[in-house]
């Protein structure tokens, strides 16, 4: 008489406590993966999705955000920085900083400020601010995909 075959189910933890511990370990791993993906997405557009293996989406998102940044800068739009006694500029700055590394590249090495007298100033500002806000949405998406809440 042959020995009974142990199915995978029989090797899994059966007690509720063991099941809860296994689920918690899985959740912790997914949380770490999501957090790392979100952090990478903050640094550079598309990097979080690249880390998660979504190469095509990463390339598309990076291209969209960078095109918006380049058009905004070419039009001499405003790259927001906090202005004293204007609290709303703080929110706009946070939104613009959402684009990650490109914001600091424009601000520090390139000393980009925009030109309020330029014809495309308002349009450029809209492009630059939208680039930052789009990348903030990408951060949330990378977090959701990394933690398994989204495909």
């Amino acid at each position: 008489m042959s020995a009974p075959i142990r199915s995978p189910e029989t090797t899994r933890p059966e007690t509720p406590a063991a099941k809860a511990a296994a689920a918690a370990a899985l959740d912790a791993a997914a949380g770490r993966r999501g957090a790392l993906a979100a952090m990478l997405a903050v640094i550079f557009p598309g990097l979080g999705h690249l880390y998660l293996g979504r190469k095509a989406r990463a390339a598309l998102f990076a291209a969209i955000v960078l095109v918006a940044v380049v058009i905004g800068a070419k039009l001499d739009g405003n790259l927001y920085t906090p202005v004293k006694d204007h609290p709303l500029t703080l929110l706009a700055t946070l939104g613009s900083m959402g684009m990650g590394l490109p914001y600091f590249v424009l601000l520090l090495p390139l000393h980009y400020t925009g030109d309020v007298t330029a014809q495309g100033y308002d349009y450029g500002t809209a492009f630059l601010l939208s680039a930052g806000l789009m990348n903030l949405l990408l951060v949330l998406d990378a977090w959701d995909v990394g933690t398994g809440r989204k495909e």
Binding site: R57, L60, F61, I64, V67, A68, I71, L75, V116, T117, G120, Y123, A126, F127, S130, M134, L137, L138, D141, E151
Partner: protein, 63 residues
Amino acid sequence: MSHFLLMVVYALLLSVFFAALWRRNRREQVVLFLQLFIGMVGGGLLVAWLMYPFPSGPPAPIP
């Protein structure tokens, strides 16, 4: 660049972005892209048409 072209480029970028972000199925992405793109460009043209009879007035002072 003309105002209209900039509006079209802006609508194009945002429509592609949100279609890729919010939908996973290709057909659904195309549908959402068209809805957003036509909504933004068409809405812009509609508002421009509604504002056409009103005078633009003097340019705003540069702060």
